[in-house]
């Protein structure tokens, strides 16, 4: 029998607001335990939440970008459960009237092009972290993350393969980055994904019993977990056993999922409307304004780069794959550097440096202004391309000023025709046999002579000018 895998996703994304959802504490990642909190986010008795308007704005923008209907009258609810990382013993979330519903995300894989339906997008607060200290056998609470704003994006069970899931997540990540509402760093937990998966005989329209997988910290883990879990479920059914509805934890080291808790032990969260926060009412004008502010998304930008700048599809595709690259590209072009030239530098030398130094584009120090300067040095004939490549390599790690670097290292191009002629003279005198070879018909020798001249000029001459001078001398 052939089996079909059916997958739905619940993705939690931390919003990139400066302050938390209900108080003015910083949302910055890290920090010594319990230094980014206050009586409000630690749920001290008598304190009250006040909604950060920026959270609502970001959530609404995300909803619009995912083609959702925005719930103009939306409310917060309380999800009640006891756990030490949740100091109020309830999480403020949205159940009954989430801010956005019924969205759609178009995706494309090598084999398929389709829409993933978004069931809902809602706002909620993050919980703290428990740190277990095995030395003293104690668990300690760090409340820094309490109240960091999240949106949870829930899809319909529309995925049929890991490839589709990854395509969706890449699209989601790119969209949220373009909007500037999240930095989507999986390793810091600002994008977390739970996978709901079931299998059924191909062609069936009924859904099988699903499991929910947690602790998926990379795209690679998600792919592998999906493959593992689908196989596990298929094997169970083929052996005549049943899939148990439960939550399973992915173990990256063991390459397997393990049961965490079954449906029978599922909690009753006793959701009810949060009485401390009045319902949010979003006006038509407010939504219109947000719509007008939506930035140009990846696909539109890619098309524009091809058309406006004449970039090849492949190159444009790489540039738009990360918002940090797009921003770098556009800023450099805005400073007057030719787009094609900027794109070549970025896809060539910059990508190599990033790869060698294992850096993310958003973490690199080199600035658009500095690359623009470097490109201008070439255009102005101050340095040649070979020198420029060396300069790039030198200034990349710490963003040392390109102009300064060229000056202090004496790398300006030699544009003195008299000096070039003089050196040619000298090189010819020292290599009489080579000159004779050329004249005897060995054309290859010219390259050797050009090389010798460039060497004498310490590589700083314009290669074209040197070529020209050597050719003239040989043929003259």
């Amino acid at each position: 029998m052939t089996w079909e895998t059916v997958i739905g996703l619940e993705t939690h994304v931390e919003l990139a607001t400066k302050t938390k959802i209900f108080c003015s504490c910083t949302t910055e990642f890290g920090g010594a335990p319990n230094t980014h909190c206050c009586p409000v986010c630690t749920g001290m008795p008598g304190t009250l939440p006040v909604v950060n308007r920026q959270v609502v704005r970001f959530a609404a923008k995300a909803g619009l970008a995912l083609n959702c209907e925005i719930t103009r009258y939306n409310k917060f609810d309380r999800k009640n459960y006891f756990y030490p990382d949740l100091p109020k013993a309830y999480q403020v979330s949205q159940l009954y009237l989430p801010i956005a519903r019924n969205g759609r995300v178009p995706i494309k894989t090598e084999s398929v092009e389709k829409d993933i339906r978004i069931h809902e997008l809602h706002m909620e607060e993050d919980a703290g972290k428990l740190v277990h200290d095995p030395w003293i056998d104690q668990t300690k609470c760090d409340y820094n993350r309490c109240g960091v704003p999240l949106i949870e994006i829930v899809t319909e069970p529309d995925f049929r393969s890991a490839d589709e899931v990854i395509a969706y997540l890449e699209k989601l990540k790119s969209t949220l980055e373009y909007l500037g509402v999240s930095d989507c760093k999986m390793q810091e937990g600002s994008l977390r994904c739970d996978v709901n998966l079931s299998v059924r005989p191909a062609g069936s329209t009924e859904l099988g019993t699903r499991t929910e997988m947690k602790n998926l910290n990379s795209f690679k883990a998600i792919s592998r977990a999906i493959e593992y879990e689908a196989r596990r479920q298929i094997e169970l059914i083929e052996e005549g056993k049943r899939v148990v509805q439960e939550t399973r934890r992915w173990d990256d080291n063991k390459d397997a999922t393990f049961s965490m808790r079954s449906k029978e032990n599922a909690q009753d969260y006793r959701y009810f409307p949060e009485p401390d926060i009045p319902p949010l009412e979003l006006s038509q004008e407010y939504l219109e304004q947000l719509r007008a502010e939506q930035p140009e998304m990846a696909e539109a930008r890619k098309a524009r780069y091809q058309e406006q700048y004449g970039l090849p599809e492949y190159d444009a595709g790489i540039l738009i794959s990360q918002k940090a690259l797009v921003d770098f590209f556009e800023e450099t072009v805005a400073l007057g550097a030719p787009a094609k030239e900027v794109s070549n530098w970025m896809l060539g030398d910059m990508m190599r440096r990033l790869k060698d130094e294992e850096l993310e584009p958003k973490d690199m120090k080199l600035t658009p202004a500095n690359l623009a300067k470097l490109i201008k040095l070439i255009a102005d004939g101050k340095i040649n391309r070979n020198t420029a490549a060396k300069v790039f390599r030198a200034i990349f790690p710490d963003n040392a000023d390109a102009e300064e670097y060229v000056k202090t290292h004496g790398l300006e191009q030699v544009n003195d025709a008299g000096l070039v002629a003089q050196v040619v003279e000298k090189v010819f005198a020292a290599n009489e046999s080579a000159v004779a070879d050329y004249r005897a018909g060995n054309q290859k020798v010219m390259g050797f002579l050009v090389g010798q001249v460039m060497k004498e000029l310490k590589g700083k001459a314009d290669p074209k000018a040197v070529n020209q001078a050597v050719r003239e001398k040989l043929e003259g």
């Binding site: 009586p39 008795p45 008598g46 009250l48 013993a89 006793r270 401390d276």
Partner: protein, 490 residues
């Protein structure tokens, strides 16, 4: 007893500004009276030293002209569920033993800025759950009019302290009648303002959608002065309203000509003590004599108000009180085996039985399978109750009702039958469900010499009307001037 103890808060404030009395003298007199009435058990935390220091400081500022408000230098007491920085705040519960909040309630900050002098924290029913102040971890407060009777609740300590002349006014909280009913039982004036007019920041929540703080004082004018100081929008409370504050005292003209006072017949039927009924209806006569018009109508939601209130309040309480788990502050049980055991033991040992009863009830009505039948239904009925008030205020400016069916019961009488106790909240809880202002004022005594209270209910943001009508009544009567002090051998 010192003579100044019989002044109203406004009279004392005026005497202080004139230099006739110093804030330190006032604070000292109050502290002596607290000591003399210690057996009432009204205060659960006394901050005598801090109060005298503060009084000294305030006195200097008044002399320097930096503090000119009508209540500057006047000592008060604060209910134990209101956060006071560095001062024990326990909601009269074992589970908050030793809790000293590192922040003040917004209301406390506002009073401080105007030169208030706090004497300490007042007894209450545990987490404001109760109508008698008997569920307190610190033991019951006694009614100053009869030590064998309860002062009402949950702000029983506040009402008893004001009645016993231990402070000039007190701040209480009212979720279903917790300011108004003890005010009635103790013969003082108290008002629960419109939901949202006083910031709840720093009030430890019982039922967030119903809780509201307000004053208990000697008369309506004192209440107006306190509300003038504490009302207004607070950026720390999203449910607070942007209301113009500070005009209530100035609006007390006593002129009620043409004002329509509504008498809802359904509030004067079965179950109401005849002596209480007679005294409350007599209020209408006094107001009519001043030119008010009396209208009668039916108010057909009374049978639903108590169940609706107890479902909504308990549901919110079950969630609000979950944070008291022994992990972060307050009481933590010893000898637990694991996390669940820590929770179970701490909450079993830390909460009293009335609080547990309401947590269980609230957990039940929110649980899956029961939510629609109870909680959701209660929210729908809450809408109907609001509608009934809207209809009523189409016919009148204010409503006059009893505060409670009887005068203060004897200590020990109520807790044996919680349902009976819940039913005694029938006249007050609807006001919280509709978010309206409600005032309780003394309007007579029963044959046992216990005070009787009358309730005036206004439309949303109708504090000015409510207070003015009460003020008019108090201009022509002296029930509010009666004092239990010295009436019986203590």
């Amino acid at each position: 007893m010192k003579e100044i103890l019989n002044l109203t808060a406004l009279q004392l404030g005026a005497a202080i500004r004139k230099g006739e009395v110093s804030p330190v003298e006032a604070a000292r007199a109050a502290l002596e009276q607290i000591e003399a009435t210690k057996s009432d058990n009204a205060f659960v935390a006394l901050t005598a030293e801090a109060a005298l220091q503060r009084a000294e400081e305030v006195g200097k500022k008044i002399a320097a002209g930096e503090l000119t408000g009508p209540l500057a230098g006047v000592p008060l007491g604060i209910k134990d569920n209101i956060c006071t920085r560095g001062v024990s705040t326990t909601c009269a519960s074992k589970i908050l033993t030793g809790f000293e909040p590192p922040y003040n309630a917004t209301l406390v900050e506002k009073l401080d800025a105007l030169g208030a002098v706090s004497l300490g924290k007042l007894n209450m029913d545990e987490f404001a759950m109760g109508s008698t102040t008997e569920t307190s971890f610190y033991g019951p407060t006694h009614n100053p009019w009869d030590a064998g009777r309860v002062p009402g609740g949950s702000s029983g300590g506040a009402a008893a302290a004001v009645a016993a002349r231990s402070c000039w006014y007190a701040i209480g909280s009212d979720t279903g009648g917790s300011i108004r009913q003890p005010a009635a039982y103790c013969g003082v004036t108290g008002i629960k303002p419109t939901y949202g007019t006083v910031s709840r920041y720093g009030l430890i929540a019982y039922a967030s959608s119903l809780d509201q703080m307000g004053p208990l004082a000697r008369d309506a004018a004192d209440c107006a002065a306190v509300l003038d100081a504490v009302m207004g929008k607070d950026p720390r409370d999203g449910t607070s309203l942007d209301v113009p504050a500070g005009n209530l005292l100035a609006g007390l003209t006593g002129d009620v000509r043409g004002m329509k006072i509504g008498i809802p017949a359904d509030c004067f039927g079965d179950g109401l003590d005849p002596e209480v009924k007679k005294s409350v209806l007599a209020v209408a006569d006094v107001l009519r004599a001043r030119g008010a018009e009396i209208v009668e109508f039916t108010f057909p939601v009374m049978e639903y108000v108590v169940p609706t209130y107890y479902i909504i309040a308990a549901a919110e309480a079950s969630s609000n009180l979950s944070r008291f788990d022994g992990v972060k502050y307050g009481w933590r049980a010893e000898g637990y085996e694991d996390l669940t055991d820590l929770y179970n033991r701490t909450r079993t040992e830390g909460f009293g039985s009335e609080v547990k009863r309401r947590i269980l009830l609230g957990t039940f009505v929110l649980s899956s399978g029961y939510y629609d039948a109870y909680y959701k239904k209660a929210l729908q009925v809450k809408g109907l109750i609001k509608q009934a008030f809207d209809d009523a205020f189409g016919k009148c400016d204010l409503m006059l009702t009893p505060v409670a069916p009887t005068t203060a019961p004897r200590i020990g009488e109520s807790l044996s039958d919680p349902l009976q106790m819940y039913l005694s909240d029938i006249y007050t809880v609807s006001v919280n469900l509709a978010g309206l202002p409600g005032l309780s004022m003394p309007c007579g005594f029963d044959s046992k010499g216990m005070p009787i209270g009358a309730q005036l209910i206004g439309p949303a943001l109708g504090e000015a009307k409510v207070l003015n009508a009460a003020h008019a009544f108090q201009l022509d009567t002296d029930y509010h001037k009666q004092s239990p002090v010295g009436k019986e051998a203590r």
